[in-house]
């Protein structure tokens, strides 16, 4: 399923957009002009990576110091221990679309517990 995100023209380079699906997805437009999507929630604790510090092809969580590679989802710096999922991005006619991964997400313990206890608050 392709989900429309926003117009490419509305997402300047160096910026991120949070797609409010469950779990949310962060879409980044890098300074080099690439558009990449990963899970928005840091796997360490509940924080939005779309609010984070984008540098090259890497984002640092806005709260602590975990870093994730936007291309692979791998953890580049602790305290996070698990990768985020990456999602396929398609830009068509100036519109950004995301195809969410079907793999199971790595949600931080607090969020996983909350979802497990009957859905998002």
């Amino acid at each position: 399923m392709m989900i429309p995100v926003c117009r490419l023209a509305d997402l300047p380079r160096g910026e991120a957009y949070r797609l409010d699906i469950e779990p949310p997805v962060a879409v980044f437009h890098t300074e080099d002009g690439e558009v990449l999507a990963i899970d928005d929630t840091c796997t360490h604790q509940d924080a939005s990576l779309a609010d984070g510090w984008l540098e090259g092809c890497e984002v640092e969580c806005p709260l602590h110091a975990s870093k994730f590679d936007l291309r692979t989802g791998a953890v580049d710096a602790p305290p996070a221990k698990l990768p985020v999922r990456t999602h396929q991005v398609v830009v068509d006619d100036g519109m950004i679309y995301v195809r969410p991964s079907e793999a199971a997400p790595n949600l931080p313990p607090c969020v996983a517990a909350r979802l497990g206890a009957g859905g998002p608050a």
Binding site: Q45, D51, W53, P62, A65, P109, C110
Partner: protein, 384 residues
């Protein structure tokens, strides 16, 4: 260099060990920790762990399968450092000779004189402290927190959410005035009142009352605050007693350069026990921040491996965060020396704002409450 000993097995020690391997050190690596536990994360101890929302396995700092090829000596305290052959003496009588030593012994919670042996009185620094306090809070009742700093405020917030009746006692007229300044300290500590947690400021604690178990906190103005449980959150002191007489210069922790070097060749210091030279301010400062313990060991390890022939990189400005009553608080920079504080976005009474501290018009620090995105932009600007 054939053997490196890292004394201290918390975040700073682990970060140093990781940096050693990352920077190509392939010799013998020994980590010494006085706690019996593998390295664990402390920030959740006053928050999610204390609230029972995350377990001990979640606190582990090492990733699954992470192998540093290190020897771990856990549950044993270092008691001395012999400069002649650069060896570390351990409490169990063993001695470990090393070519390089990383001092990462951290800091210990200050206690209240006279509270020893009184049940119901806690500090919060270690996993064992947190386990004990969590069990105590599960009993409910009245909690009195002595100290309105970040640890005290986080414990108060967590205990409030668990349903306890909470009072915070702060000796200074405004809590958090040290790190945040008077105005912003007042705004952040107003979170207590928002949630019906009593905050008593500008009054010192005379002592505790109780036979075997604490039953009240006695204030210097004669008041008595009934308590079933007391948490003492009055700061920490660097754990450097073991280095006295070793030749390592000590002054509010281990005196070290911007690159972590100490007064002894082959010995560097990292984390909460390290009193680093800060080129930004031209003075030494000991910063008890998680982020410093994570990031700065790389510079100290580079110094160690290069036998001191390194140029220290410019460290990122100090950053810390706190979570209280569901509000995310973030701070970067140095509030001391600021001559103005301006709210640039949001509103303080909504507990969602960004404030910028300036000295002679130049930003020197930023405080965010529930503004992670804007805060990140400012922090980035500071570092650039």
């Amino acid at each position: 260099m054939r053997t490196v000993a890292v004394v201290g097995a918390s975040l700073a020690g682990l970060s140093a060990a990781r940096a050693l391997r990352k920077q190509g050190y392939d010799g013998r690596l020994v980590l010494i920790g006085d706690e019996p536990h593998r390295p664990y994360d402390r920030p959740p101890l006053s928050k999610e762990f204390l609230a029972g929302r995350v377990g001990e396995a979640d606190l582990a700092l090492e990733a699954d399968g992470e192998d540093l090829g290190a020897e771990w000596l856990l549950g044993v305290r270092a008691t001395g450092l012999d400069r002649a052959d650069r060896s570390v003496r351990l409490a169990d009588g063993r001695t470990l000779r090393a070519d390089g030593i990383v001092i990462a012994t951290g800091a210990a919670a200050r206690t209240l004189p006279g509270s020893e042996g009184l049940a119901g009185v806690h500090t919060l620094r270690t996993l064992d402290d947190a386990r004990a306090l969590r069990d105590e809070l599960a009993r409910g009742g009245r909690l009195v927190v002595i100290g309105g700093g970040f640890i005290g405020a986080e414990v108060a917030s967590t205990a409030y959410a668990l349903g306890l009746d909470v009072t915070v006692i702060e000796a200074a007229p405004t809590p958090l005035a040290g790190p945040l300044g008077e105005a912003m300290g007042g705004i952040v500590s107003a979170l207590h009142a928002d949630h019906g947690v009593r905050l008593l400021c500008g009054v010192g604690v005379k002592g505790l009352s109780g036979e075997r178990r604490v039953d009240a906190v006695l204030l210097e103005d004669g008041r008595s605050v009934p308590a079933d449980t007391v948490v003492v959150g009055v700061g920490a002191r660097p754990c450097v007693e073991w280095l006295e007489g070793s030749g390592v210069a000590l002054d509010n922790g281990v005196t070290c350069g911007a690159d972590g070097r100490t007064s002894l060749a082959g010995v560097v210091a990292v984390g909460d026990c390290a009193n680093w030279y800060d080129p930004h301010t031209g003075s030494h400062r000991r910063v008890e921040h998680w982020t410093g313990a994570l990031e700065r060991p790389a510079a100290a390890v580079a110094t160690l491996l290069a036998h001191g022939a390194t140029e220290p990189g410019v460290p990122r400005p100090p950053y810390f965060w706190s979570d209280q009553y569901g509000v995310k608080i973030q701070f970067v920079g140095h509030a001391a020396g600021a001559d103005s504080v301006t709210v640039e976005e949001g509103a303080t009474d909504e507990r969602s704002f960004l404030a910028v501290y300036r000295r002679a018009g130049t930003p020197v620090a930023v405080l965010g409450m529930n503004q992670p995105r804007l805060f990140t932009r400012w922090r980035k600007q500071f570092t650039a």
